[in-house]
Symmetry: C2
Subunit: 296 residues, 2 copies
Amino acid sequence: MITVSLIGIGTGNPDHVTAQAVRAMNLADLILIPLKGDDKADLAGLRQAICESCVTNPATRIEGFDLPVRDRATPDYLTRVNDWHDAIAAVWRDRINAHLEQGGGPRVALLVWGDPSLYDSTLRIAARVGRDIPIMLDVIPGLTSIQVLCAAHAIPLNELGASVMITTGRQLRDGGWPDGPGTVVVMLDAGGAFTSLYMPHYHIWWGAYARAGQSCAWLDHGHLHPAPDPYDASIRKVAMTPAAGVAGSATICKHPYGCQFSPLNALSRSARSFSQAAYYDPTFFDQRPERLIKYT
Amino acid sequence: MITVSLIGIGTGNPDHVTAQAVRAMNLADLILIPLKGDDKADLAGLRQAICESCVTNPATRIEGFDLPVRDRATPDYLTRVNDWHDAIAAVWRDRINAHLEQGGGPRVALLVWGDPSLYDSTLRIAARVGRDIPIMLDVIPGLTSIQVLCAAHAIPLNELGASVMITTGRQLRDGGWPDGPGTVVVMLDAGGAFTSLYMPHYHIWWGAYARAGQSCAWLDHGHLHPAPDPYDASIRKVAMTPAAGVAGSATICKHPYGCQFSPLNALSRSARSFSQAAYYDPTFFDQRPERLIKYT
Protein backbone atom coordinates (compact mmCIF):
# COMPACT_ATOMS: atom_id res chain seq x y z
CA MET A 1 0.00 0.00 0.00
CA ILE A 2 1.26 3.45 -0.94
CA THR A 3 1.25 5.96 1.90
CA VAL A 4 0.88 9.62 0.97
CA SER A 5 1.93 11.95 3.79
CA LEU A 6 0.71 15.53 3.60
CA ILE A 7 3.06 17.39 5.89
CA GLY A 8 2.12 20.84 7.19
CA ILE A 9 5.30 22.93 7.40
CA GLY A 10 3.91 26.29 8.56
CA THR A 11 4.66 29.53 6.75
CA GLY A 12 8.34 29.17 5.93
CA ASN A 13 10.05 29.60 9.30
CA PRO A 14 11.88 26.30 9.93
CA ASP A 15 11.42 26.84 13.69
CA HIS A 16 7.69 26.39 13.17
CA VAL A 17 8.10 22.84 11.88
CA THR A 18 7.05 20.24 14.46
CA ALA A 19 9.00 17.14 15.50
CA GLN A 20 6.18 15.08 13.98
CA ALA A 21 6.70 16.79 10.60
CA VAL A 22 10.46 16.23 10.72
CA ARG A 23 9.92 12.53 11.45
CA ALA A 24 7.40 12.21 8.61
CA MET A 25 9.88 13.78 6.17
CA ASN A 26 12.56 11.33 7.24
CA LEU A 27 10.21 8.35 6.90
CA ALA A 28 9.45 9.27 3.28
CA ASP A 29 11.04 7.41 0.38
CA LEU A 30 10.11 10.26 -1.96
CA ILE A 31 9.28 13.93 -1.29
CA LEU A 32 7.60 15.64 -4.24
CA ILE A 33 8.12 19.40 -4.58
CA PRO A 34 5.92 21.37 -6.99
CA LEU A 35 7.63 23.84 -9.32
CA LYS A 36 5.45 26.76 -10.34
CA GLY A 37 7.56 28.46 -12.99
CA ASP A 38 10.10 31.22 -12.62
CA ASP A 39 8.00 33.70 -10.65
CA LYS A 40 7.39 31.27 -7.81
CA ALA A 41 10.70 29.43 -7.89
CA ASP A 42 11.58 30.99 -4.54
CA LEU A 43 8.83 28.97 -2.88
CA ALA A 44 10.18 25.73 -4.34
CA GLY A 45 13.58 26.82 -3.05
CA LEU A 46 12.11 27.46 0.38
CA ARG A 47 10.55 23.97 0.46
CA GLN A 48 13.94 22.59 -0.58
CA ALA A 49 15.65 24.57 2.19
CA ILE A 50 13.23 23.15 4.77
CA CYS A 51 13.91 19.64 3.44
CA GLU A 52 17.64 20.20 3.74
CA SER A 53 17.44 21.40 7.30
CA CYS A 54 15.09 18.57 8.36
CA VAL A 55 15.87 15.47 6.26
CA THR A 56 18.78 13.43 7.55
CA ASN A 57 17.73 10.09 6.02
CA PRO A 58 20.01 9.56 2.99
CA ALA A 59 17.44 7.22 1.43
CA THR A 60 14.84 10.00 1.13
CA ARG A 61 14.68 11.24 -2.48
CA ILE A 62 13.58 14.82 -3.14
CA GLU A 63 12.15 15.47 -6.59
CA GLY A 64 10.69 18.57 -8.21
CA PHE A 65 7.76 18.28 -10.61
CA ASP A 66 6.17 20.82 -12.95
CA LEU A 67 2.85 21.95 -11.53
CA PRO A 68 0.08 22.30 -14.14
CA VAL A 69 -1.38 25.80 -14.41
CA ARG A 70 -5.05 26.76 -14.09
CA ASP A 71 -6.87 27.23 -17.38
CA ARG A 72 -7.98 30.85 -17.19
CA ALA A 73 -10.25 30.25 -20.20
CA THR A 74 -12.62 28.26 -17.94
CA PRO A 75 -15.08 30.89 -16.69
CA ASP A 76 -16.58 29.09 -13.67
CA TYR A 77 -14.38 29.27 -10.56
CA LEU A 78 -15.21 25.86 -9.09
CA THR A 79 -14.93 24.12 -12.48
CA ARG A 80 -11.58 25.80 -13.09
CA VAL A 81 -10.26 24.71 -9.70
CA ASN A 82 -11.62 21.15 -10.02
CA ASP A 83 -10.07 20.76 -13.50
CA TRP A 84 -6.78 22.02 -12.10
CA HIS A 85 -6.88 19.53 -9.21
CA ASP A 86 -7.57 16.72 -11.72
CA ALA A 87 -4.50 17.76 -13.73
CA ILE A 88 -2.27 17.91 -10.63
CA ALA A 89 -3.53 14.51 -9.44
CA ALA A 90 -2.57 13.01 -12.82
CA VAL A 91 0.98 14.37 -12.41
CA TRP A 92 1.24 13.04 -8.83
CA ARG A 93 0.03 9.62 -9.99
CA ASP A 94 2.55 9.55 -12.86
CA ARG A 95 5.43 10.58 -10.62
CA ILE A 96 4.48 8.02 -7.97
CA ASN A 97 4.22 5.26 -10.58
CA ALA A 98 7.59 6.23 -12.11
CA HIS A 99 9.17 6.18 -8.64
CA LEU A 100 7.75 2.71 -7.92
CA GLU A 101 8.88 1.37 -11.32
CA GLN A 102 12.40 2.49 -10.42
CA GLY A 103 12.19 0.35 -7.28
CA GLY A 104 11.39 3.23 -4.93
CA GLY A 105 9.72 2.58 -1.58
CA PRO A 106 6.03 3.11 -0.88
CA ARG A 107 6.12 6.22 1.31
CA VAL A 108 5.51 9.44 -0.62
CA ALA A 109 5.31 12.88 1.02
CA LEU A 110 4.35 16.39 0.02
CA LEU A 111 5.15 19.52 2.03
CA VAL A 112 2.15 21.77 2.54
CA TRP A 113 2.39 25.49 3.38
CA GLY A 114 0.49 26.22 6.55
CA ASP A 115 -1.84 23.38 7.49
CA PRO A 116 -3.25 20.78 5.06
CA SER A 117 -6.76 21.41 6.45
CA LEU A 118 -7.08 25.12 5.67
CA TYR A 119 -7.50 26.52 2.15
CA ASP A 120 -5.16 23.97 0.71
CA SER A 121 -5.69 21.62 -2.24
CA THR A 122 -3.53 18.65 -1.34
CA LEU A 123 -6.22 16.63 0.50
CA ARG A 124 -8.57 17.01 -2.49
CA ILE A 125 -5.79 16.09 -4.93
CA ALA A 126 -4.82 13.06 -2.83
CA ALA A 127 -8.46 11.91 -2.89
CA ARG A 128 -8.31 11.98 -6.71
CA VAL A 129 -5.05 10.00 -6.75
CA GLY A 130 -6.76 7.50 -4.46
CA ARG A 131 -9.30 6.72 -7.16
CA ASP A 132 -6.52 5.37 -9.40
CA ILE A 133 -4.03 3.93 -6.88
CA PRO A 134 -4.97 2.51 -3.47
CA ILE A 135 -3.35 4.85 -0.98
CA MET A 136 -3.33 5.50 2.72
CA LEU A 137 -3.34 9.13 3.78
CA ASP A 138 -1.26 10.48 6.63
CA VAL A 139 -1.86 14.11 7.56
CA ILE A 140 0.57 16.08 9.72
CA PRO A 141 -0.83 19.38 11.01
CA GLY A 142 1.18 22.59 10.62
CA LEU A 143 0.88 26.18 11.83
CA THR A 144 -1.31 28.45 9.71
CA SER A 145 -0.60 32.06 8.76
CA ILE A 146 -3.54 33.04 11.01
CA GLN A 147 -1.75 31.71 14.07
CA VAL A 148 1.58 33.21 13.09
CA LEU A 149 -0.07 36.57 12.44
CA CYS A 150 -1.87 36.54 15.81
CA ALA A 151 1.37 35.60 17.59
CA ALA A 152 3.32 38.33 15.79
CA HIS A 153 0.73 40.94 16.82
CA ALA A 154 0.26 39.34 20.28
CA ILE A 155 -3.53 39.39 19.87
CA PRO A 156 -6.22 36.78 20.51
CA LEU A 157 -8.14 35.75 17.42
CA ASN A 158 -11.54 35.64 19.13
CA GLU A 159 -13.10 38.18 21.45
CA LEU A 160 -14.26 36.78 24.78
CA GLY A 161 -16.84 34.05 24.13
CA ALA A 162 -17.40 35.33 20.56
CA SER A 163 -17.18 33.66 17.14
CA VAL A 164 -14.58 33.88 14.39
CA MET A 165 -15.27 33.58 10.66
CA ILE A 166 -12.51 32.45 8.33
CA THR A 167 -13.42 33.30 4.77
CA THR A 168 -12.05 34.23 1.35
CA GLY A 169 -11.64 37.62 -0.30
CA ARG A 170 -14.24 36.54 -2.85
CA GLN A 171 -16.83 35.64 -0.18
CA LEU A 172 -16.27 38.90 1.72
CA ARG A 173 -16.61 41.03 -1.41
CA ASP A 174 -19.80 39.20 -2.42
CA GLY A 175 -21.44 38.86 0.98
CA GLY A 176 -20.11 41.72 3.12
CA TRP A 177 -19.37 41.44 6.84
CA PRO A 178 -21.04 38.22 7.97
CA ASP A 179 -23.74 38.14 10.61
CA GLY A 180 -22.48 37.10 14.03
CA PRO A 181 -18.71 36.91 14.38
CA GLY A 182 -16.68 39.54 16.22
CA THR A 183 -13.62 38.63 14.15
CA VAL A 184 -13.31 37.93 10.42
CA VAL A 185 -10.18 36.49 8.82
CA VAL A 186 -9.74 36.82 5.07
CA MET A 187 -7.49 34.39 3.23
CA LEU A 188 -6.79 33.78 -0.48
CA ASP A 189 -7.03 37.51 -1.03
CA ALA A 190 -4.74 39.34 -3.39
CA GLY A 191 -6.11 42.84 -3.08
CA GLY A 192 -7.36 44.01 0.29
CA ALA A 193 -10.94 42.69 0.26
CA PHE A 194 -11.77 44.50 3.52
CA THR A 195 -11.37 47.88 1.79
CA SER A 196 -14.39 46.96 -0.35
CA LEU A 197 -16.52 47.43 2.79
CA TYR A 198 -17.07 50.74 4.58
CA MET A 199 -16.70 49.82 8.26
CA PRO A 200 -15.72 52.82 10.41
CA HIS A 201 -13.57 51.98 13.42
CA TYR A 202 -13.25 48.30 12.61
CA HIS A 203 -9.71 47.34 13.45
CA ILE A 204 -7.47 45.44 11.06
CA TRP A 205 -4.23 43.49 11.49
CA TRP A 206 -2.14 42.27 8.59
CA GLY A 207 1.27 41.03 7.60
CA ALA A 208 3.19 39.22 4.94
CA TYR A 209 6.03 36.79 5.08
CA ALA A 210 9.58 36.90 3.94
CA ARG A 211 10.44 35.99 0.40
CA ALA A 212 13.43 33.83 -0.28
CA GLY A 213 16.20 35.77 -1.95
CA GLN A 214 14.61 39.13 -1.16
CA SER A 215 14.15 40.01 2.49
CA CYS A 216 10.81 41.64 3.06
CA ALA A 217 8.18 41.54 5.78
CA TRP A 218 5.31 43.80 6.69
CA LEU A 219 3.43 43.69 9.94
CA ASP A 220 1.03 46.45 10.88
CA HIS A 221 -2.42 47.24 12.24
CA GLY A 222 -4.85 50.15 12.46
CA HIS A 223 -8.38 51.29 11.83
CA LEU A 224 -9.84 50.23 8.53
CA HIS A 225 -11.81 53.50 8.17
CA PRO A 226 -10.53 56.09 8.89
CA ALA A 227 -7.14 54.51 8.29
CA PRO A 228 -4.20 55.85 10.34
CA ASP A 229 -1.83 53.76 8.29
CA PRO A 230 -1.55 53.62 4.52
CA TYR A 231 -3.35 50.29 4.53
CA ASP A 232 -4.16 50.40 0.86
CA ALA A 233 -0.54 50.87 -0.13
CA SER A 234 0.64 48.27 2.39
CA ILE A 235 -1.82 45.63 1.34
CA ARG A 236 -0.88 46.17 -2.26
CA LYS A 237 2.76 45.64 -1.34
CA VAL A 238 1.73 42.50 0.51
CA ALA A 239 -0.22 41.30 -2.49
CA MET A 240 2.82 41.81 -4.69
CA THR A 241 4.95 39.31 -2.77
CA PRO A 242 4.86 35.86 -4.30
CA ALA A 243 4.65 34.43 -0.79
CA ALA A 244 1.48 36.35 0.03
CA GLY A 245 -1.07 34.18 -1.72
CA VAL A 246 0.72 30.89 -1.78
CA ALA A 247 2.05 30.76 1.74
CA GLY A 248 -1.47 31.67 2.81
CA SER A 249 -1.31 35.22 4.08
CA ALA A 250 -4.19 36.23 6.32
CA THR A 251 -5.78 39.55 7.24
CA ILE A 252 -7.72 39.81 10.50
CA CYS A 253 -10.48 42.36 11.12
CA LYS A 254 -12.43 42.90 14.36
CA HIS A 255 -15.76 44.45 15.15
CA PRO A 256 -15.28 47.70 17.14
CA TYR A 257 -17.51 46.68 20.06
CA GLY A 258 -15.75 44.59 22.64
CA CYS A 259 -12.41 44.70 20.88
CA GLN A 260 -9.99 44.55 23.80
CA PHE A 261 -6.81 44.95 21.79
CA SER A 262 -7.04 48.44 20.31
CA PRO A 263 -4.06 50.54 19.17
CA LEU A 264 -4.60 52.62 22.32
CA ASN A 265 -3.50 49.68 24.41
CA ALA A 266 0.10 50.40 25.33
CA LEU A 267 0.82 46.75 26.06
CA SER A 268 -0.40 45.78 22.65
CA ARG A 269 1.89 48.37 21.06
CA SER A 270 4.98 47.28 22.95
CA ALA A 271 4.12 43.66 22.38
CA ARG A 272 3.84 44.33 18.69
CA SER A 273 7.27 45.95 18.48
CA PHE A 274 8.77 43.10 20.39
CA SER A 275 7.05 40.37 18.47
CA GLN A 276 7.82 42.01 15.18
CA ALA A 277 11.53 41.74 15.93
CA ALA A 278 11.25 38.19 17.23
CA TYR A 279 9.02 37.08 14.42
CA TYR A 280 11.08 38.12 11.47
CA ASP A 281 14.71 37.20 11.22
CA PRO A 282 15.98 38.82 8.01
CA THR A 283 19.20 36.87 8.17
CA PHE A 284 17.44 33.56 7.64
CA PHE A 285 17.16 33.80 3.90
CA ASP A 286 20.16 36.00 3.28
CA GLN A 287 22.56 33.58 4.91
CA ARG A 288 21.40 30.59 2.95
CA PRO A 289 21.59 31.43 -0.75
CA GLU A 290 23.18 28.07 -1.43
CA ARG A 291 19.91 26.45 -0.41
CA LEU A 292 18.10 27.83 -3.43
CA ILE A 293 18.92 24.79 -5.45
CA LYS A 294 18.10 24.49 -9.13
CA TYR A 295 15.92 21.66 -10.31
CA THR A 296 16.75 19.62 -13.38
CA MET B 1 11.96 44.69 31.56
CA ILE B 2 10.09 41.47 32.35
CA THR B 3 9.34 39.29 29.34
CA VAL B 4 6.29 37.05 29.53
CA SER B 5 6.35 34.27 26.93
CA LEU B 6 3.05 32.57 26.17
CA ILE B 7 4.09 29.31 24.58
CA GLY B 8 1.59 27.30 22.55
CA ILE B 9 2.25 23.59 23.14
CA GLY B 10 -0.53 21.99 21.12
CA THR B 11 -2.88 19.41 22.56
CA GLY B 12 -0.56 17.27 24.65
CA ASN B 13 1.42 15.31 22.06
CA PRO B 14 5.07 16.34 22.60
CA ASP B 15 5.72 15.72 18.88
CA HIS B 16 3.43 18.67 18.12
CA VAL B 17 5.67 21.12 19.98
CA THR B 18 7.68 23.33 17.60
CA ALA B 19 11.39 24.07 17.75
CA GLN B 20 10.48 27.69 18.51
CA ALA B 21 8.47 26.58 21.56
CA VAL B 22 11.32 24.40 22.83
CA ARG B 23 13.74 27.31 22.51
CA ALA B 24 11.36 29.66 24.31
CA MET B 25 11.03 27.18 27.21
CA ASN B 26 14.81 26.95 27.50
CA LEU B 27 15.22 30.74 27.45
CA ALA B 28 12.84 31.12 30.39
CA ASP B 29 14.12 31.76 33.90
CA LEU B 30 10.77 30.70 35.36
CA ILE B 31 7.97 28.56 33.91
CA LEU B 32 4.69 28.90 35.81
CA ILE B 33 2.33 25.90 35.75
CA PRO B 34 -1.26 26.34 36.94
CA LEU B 35 -2.65 23.73 39.34
CA LYS B 36 -6.39 23.26 39.16
CA GLY B 37 -7.08 20.98 42.09
CA ASP B 38 -7.19 17.22 42.21
CA ASP B 39 -9.55 16.59 39.31
CA LYS B 40 -7.33 18.38 36.82
CA ALA B 41 -3.95 17.49 38.28
CA ASP B 42 -3.30 15.28 35.28
CA LEU B 43 -3.13 18.36 33.06
CA ALA B 44 -0.54 19.96 35.33
CA GLY B 45 1.34 16.67 35.13
CA LEU B 46 1.13 16.73 31.36
CA ARG B 47 2.55 20.26 31.24
CA GLN B 48 5.30 19.08 33.59
CA ALA B 49 6.00 16.10 31.31
CA ILE B 50 6.32 18.40 28.30
CA CYS B 51 8.70 20.63 30.27
CA GLU B 52 10.80 17.63 31.20
CA SER B 53 11.09 16.40 27.65
CA CYS B 54 11.88 19.88 26.26
CA VAL B 55 13.76 21.87 28.93
CA THR B 56 17.49 21.15 29.04
CA ASN B 57 18.56 24.47 30.60
CA PRO B 58 19.33 23.72 34.29
CA ALA B 59 18.73 27.38 35.17
CA THR B 60 15.06 27.21 34.15
CA ARG B 61 12.85 26.95 37.26
CA ILE B 62 9.48 25.24 36.97
CA GLU B 63 6.91 26.25 39.58
CA GLY B 64 3.31 25.25 40.13
CA PHE B 65 0.77 27.80 41.38
CA ASP B 66 -2.78 27.42 42.63
CA LEU B 67 -5.20 28.67 40.01
CA PRO B 68 -8.12 30.69 41.42
CA VAL B 69 -11.55 29.24 40.66
CA ARG B 70 -14.46 31.02 38.97
CA ASP B 71 -17.07 32.41 41.30
CA ARG B 72 -20.21 30.57 40.23
CA ALA B 73 -22.28 32.99 42.31
CA THR B 74 -21.65 35.72 39.70
CA PRO B 75 -24.60 35.35 37.31
CA ASP B 76 -23.30 37.22 34.24
CA TYR B 77 -20.94 35.12 32.09
CA LEU B 78 -18.62 37.92 30.94
CA THR B 79 -18.42 39.45 34.45
CA ARG B 80 -17.65 36.03 35.92
CA VAL B 81 -14.87 35.42 33.38
CA ASN B 82 -13.42 38.93 33.73
CA ASP B 83 -13.35 38.66 37.53
CA TRP B 84 -11.63 35.30 37.20
CA HIS B 85 -8.99 36.73 34.85
CA ASP B 86 -8.37 39.56 37.35
CA ALA B 87 -7.81 37.01 40.12
CA ILE B 88 -5.42 34.93 37.99
CA ALA B 89 -3.48 38.06 36.95
CA ALA B 90 -3.00 38.94 40.64
CA VAL B 91 -1.52 35.50 41.27
CA TRP B 92 0.80 35.74 38.24
CA ARG B 93 1.96 39.18 39.41
CA ASP B 94 2.63 37.92 42.96
CA ARG B 95 4.55 34.90 41.70
CA ILE B 96 6.61 37.00 39.30
CA ASN B 97 7.43 39.52 42.05
CA ALA B 98 8.39 36.75 44.49
CA HIS B 99 10.63 35.20 41.82
CA LEU B 100 12.36 38.55 41.17
CA GLU B 101 12.82 39.21 44.90
CA GLN B 102 14.64 35.88 45.15
CA GLY B 103 17.03 37.11 42.45
CA GLY B 104 15.36 35.28 39.57
CA GLY B 105 15.89 36.40 35.98
CA PRO B 106 13.39 38.45 34.00
CA ARG B 107 12.10 35.85 31.54
CA VAL B 108 8.83 34.24 32.63
CA ALA B 109 6.94 31.69 30.54
CA LEU B 110 3.56 29.97 30.62
CA LEU B 111 2.64 26.91 28.58
CA VAL B 112 -0.65 27.28 26.74
CA TRP B 113 -2.75 24.34 25.50
CA GLY B 114 -3.38 24.65 21.79
CA ASP B 115 -2.60 28.16 20.53
CA PRO B 116 -2.58 31.32 22.68
CA SER B 117 -4.77 33.08 20.08
CA LEU B 118 -7.78 30.76 20.16
CA TYR B 119 -10.25 30.55 23.07
CA ASP B 120 -7.50 30.97 25.58
CA SER B 121 -7.26 33.44 28.47
CA THR B 122 -3.52 33.95 28.83
CA LEU B 123 -3.23 36.98 26.49
CA ARG B 124 -6.02 38.73 28.40
CA ILE B 125 -4.47 37.82 31.76
CA ALA B 126 -1.02 39.03 30.59
CA ALA B 127 -2.59 42.35 29.55
CA ARG B 128 -3.87 42.75 33.14
CA VAL B 129 -0.44 41.96 34.60
CA GLY B 130 0.97 44.58 32.23
CA ARG B 131 -1.08 47.27 33.98
CA ASP B 132 0.88 46.65 37.23
CA ILE B 133 4.30 45.60 35.96
CA PRO B 134 5.85 46.78 32.67
CA ILE B 135 6.15 43.62 30.58
CA MET B 136 7.00 42.63 27.06
CA LEU B 137 4.88 39.89 25.54
CA ASP B 138 6.29 37.11 23.41
CA VAL B 139 3.73 34.78 21.82
CA ILE B 140 4.71 31.40 20.36
CA PRO B 141 2.00 29.83 18.20
CA GLY B 142 0.95 26.21 18.77
CA LEU B 143 -1.28 23.67 17.04
CA THR B 144 -4.97 23.84 17.92
CA SER B 145 -7.31 20.92 18.54
CA ILE B 146 -9.08 21.91 15.30
CA GLN B 147 -5.96 21.19 13.27
CA VAL B 148 -5.18 17.98 15.12
CA LEU B 149 -8.78 16.80 14.66
CA CYS B 150 -8.74 17.57 10.91
CA ALA B 151 -5.41 15.77 10.51
CA ALA B 152 -6.65 12.75 12.48
CA HIS B 153 -9.73 12.51 10.25
CA ALA B 154 -7.75 13.47 7.10
CA ILE B 155 -10.35 16.08 6.18
CA PRO B 156 -10.06 19.68 5.03
CA LEU B 157 -11.66 22.20 7.39
CA ASN B 158 -13.17 24.34 4.62
CA GLU B 159 -15.11 23.26 1.56
CA LEU B 160 -13.75 24.59 -1.74
CA GLY B 161 -13.75 28.40 -1.63
CA ALA B 162 -16.22 28.36 1.30
CA SER B 163 -16.13 29.90 4.78
CA VAL B 164 -15.55 28.37 8.21
CA MET B 165 -17.10 29.60 11.46
CA ILE B 166 -15.37 28.85 14.75
CA THR B 167 -17.77 29.38 17.60
CA THR B 168 -18.70 28.29 21.11
CA GLY B 169 -21.32 25.82 22.27
CA ARG B 170 -23.14 28.73 23.91
CA GLN B 171 -23.26 30.76 20.67
CA LEU B 172 -24.47 27.78 18.63
CA ARG B 173 -27.24 26.95 21.10
CA ASP B 174 -28.38 30.58 21.20
CA GLY B 175 -28.01 31.45 17.51
CA GLY B 176 -28.38 28.20 15.58
CA TRP B 177 -26.43 27.32 12.45
CA PRO B 178 -24.90 30.62 11.29
CA ASP B 179 -25.65 32.14 7.92
CA GLY B 180 -22.95 31.54 5.34
CA PRO B 181 -20.29 29.03 6.34
CA GLY B 182 -20.14 25.49 4.97
CA THR B 183 -18.28 24.35 8.08
CA VAL B 184 -18.89 25.18 11.74
CA VAL B 185 -16.45 24.31 14.52
CA VAL B 186 -17.69 24.32 18.10
CA MET B 187 -15.23 24.78 20.92
CA LEU B 188 -15.64 25.27 24.69
CA ASP B 189 -18.54 22.85 24.58
CA ALA B 190 -19.17 20.35 27.33
CA GLY B 191 -22.32 18.74 26.07
CA GLY B 192 -22.74 18.25 22.32
CA ALA B 193 -24.15 21.64 21.28
CA PHE B 194 -24.79 20.43 17.72
CA THR B 195 -27.42 18.00 18.98
CA SER B 196 -29.50 21.03 20.04
CA LEU B 197 -30.10 21.70 16.34
CA TYR B 198 -32.10 19.45 14.02
CA MET B 199 -29.98 19.32 10.86
CA PRO B 200 -30.64 16.17 8.80
CA HIS B 201 -27.63 14.90 6.85
CA TYR B 202 -25.23 17.42 8.26
CA HIS B 203 -21.97 15.57 8.86
CA ILE B 204 -20.09 15.73 12.12
CA TRP B 205 -16.51 14.85 13.12
CA TRP B 206 -15.35 14.71 16.70
CA GLY B 207 -12.65 13.42 18.98
CA ALA B 208 -11.07 13.78 22.36
CA TYR B 209 -7.55 13.55 23.58
CA ALA B 210 -5.75 11.20 25.84
CA ARG B 211 -5.79 11.78 29.54
CA ALA B 212 -2.64 11.37 31.55
CA GLY B 213 -2.77 8.32 33.74
CA GLN B 214 -5.83 6.90 32.00
CA SER B 215 -5.45 6.04 28.33
CA CYS B 216 -8.48 7.12 26.42
CA ALA B 217 -9.18 8.58 23.00
CA TRP B 218 -12.24 8.86 20.85
CA LEU B 219 -12.27 9.72 17.18
CA ASP B 220 -15.37 9.25 15.08
CA HIS B 221 -17.66 10.83 12.50
CA GLY B 222 -21.13 10.38 11.06
CA HIS B 223 -24.42 12.05 10.24
CA LEU B 224 -25.73 14.30 12.96
CA HIS B 225 -29.38 13.35 12.15
CA PRO B 226 -30.06 10.50 11.58
CA ALA B 227 -27.01 9.45 13.55
CA PRO B 228 -25.38 6.13 12.58
CA ASP B 229 -23.13 6.39 15.60
CA PRO B 230 -24.15 6.93 19.21
CA TYR B 231 -23.00 10.52 18.99
CA ASP B 232 -24.81 11.59 22.09
CA ALA B 233 -23.18 8.92 24.21
CA SER B 234 -19.79 9.56 22.63
CA ILE B 235 -19.87 13.27 23.12
CA ARG B 236 -20.86 12.78 26.72
CA LYS B 237 -17.86 10.52 27.17
CA VAL B 238 -15.73 13.20 25.54
CA ALA B 239 -17.16 15.82 27.85
CA MET B 240 -16.31 13.68 30.86
CA THR B 241 -12.57 13.70 30.16
CA PRO B 242 -10.80 16.46 32.05
CA ALA B 243 -8.76 17.11 28.90
CA ALA B 244 -11.84 17.85 26.82
CA GLY B 245 -12.56 21.37 27.88
CA VAL B 246 -9.14 22.48 28.95
CA ALA B 247 -7.08 21.10 26.11
CA GLY B 248 -9.65 22.69 23.83
CA SER B 249 -11.51 19.85 22.17
CA ALA B 250 -13.28 20.76 18.95
CA THR B 251 -16.26 19.35 17.08
CA ILE B 252 -16.58 20.00 13.33
CA CYS B 253 -19.87 19.97 11.44
CA LYS B 254 -20.37 20.45 7.69
CA HIS B 255 -23.31 21.53 5.59
CA PRO B 256 -24.52 18.60 3.44
CA TYR B 257 -24.24 20.47 0.13
CA GLY B 258 -20.81 20.37 -1.37
CA CYS B 259 -19.35 18.25 1.40
CA GLN B 260 -16.69 16.28 -0.43
CA PHE B 261 -15.60 14.13 2.48
CA SER B 262 -18.64 12.03 3.27
CA PRO B 263 -18.58 8.65 5.03
CA LEU B 264 -19.31 7.11 1.60
CA ASN B 265 -15.85 8.15 0.48
CA ALA B 266 -13.73 5.03 0.77
CA LEU B 267 -10.51 7.02 0.86
CA SER B 268 -11.77 9.03 3.74
CA ARG B 269 -12.63 5.87 5.64
CA SER B 270 -9.25 4.24 5.15
CA ALA B 271 -7.52 7.50 5.88
CA ARG B 272 -9.40 7.75 9.12
CA SER B 273 -8.42 4.29 10.29
CA PHE B 274 -4.82 4.97 9.44
CA SER B 275 -4.68 8.38 11.01
CA GLN B 276 -6.44 7.16 14.10
CA ALA B 277 -3.62 4.72 14.74
CA ALA B 278 -0.93 7.24 13.94
CA TYR B 279 -2.56 9.98 15.93
CA TYR B 280 -3.02 8.26 19.22
CA ASP B 281 -0.17 6.45 20.84
CA PRO B 282 -1.58 4.90 24.03
CA THR B 283 1.89 4.05 25.26
CA PHE B 284 2.86 7.70 25.58
CA PHE B 285 1.24 8.30 28.93
CA ASP B 286 1.46 4.77 30.25
CA GLN B 287 5.22 4.64 29.93
CA ARG B 288 5.83 7.87 31.77
CA PRO B 289 4.06 7.68 35.15
CA GLU B 290 7.17 9.02 36.82
CA ARG B 291 6.59 12.28 35.00
CA LEU B 292 3.42 12.97 36.97
CA ILE B 293 5.34 14.85 39.57
CA LYS B 294 3.80 16.15 42.76
CA TYR B 295 3.94 19.83 43.50
CA THR B 296 4.77 21.23 46.89
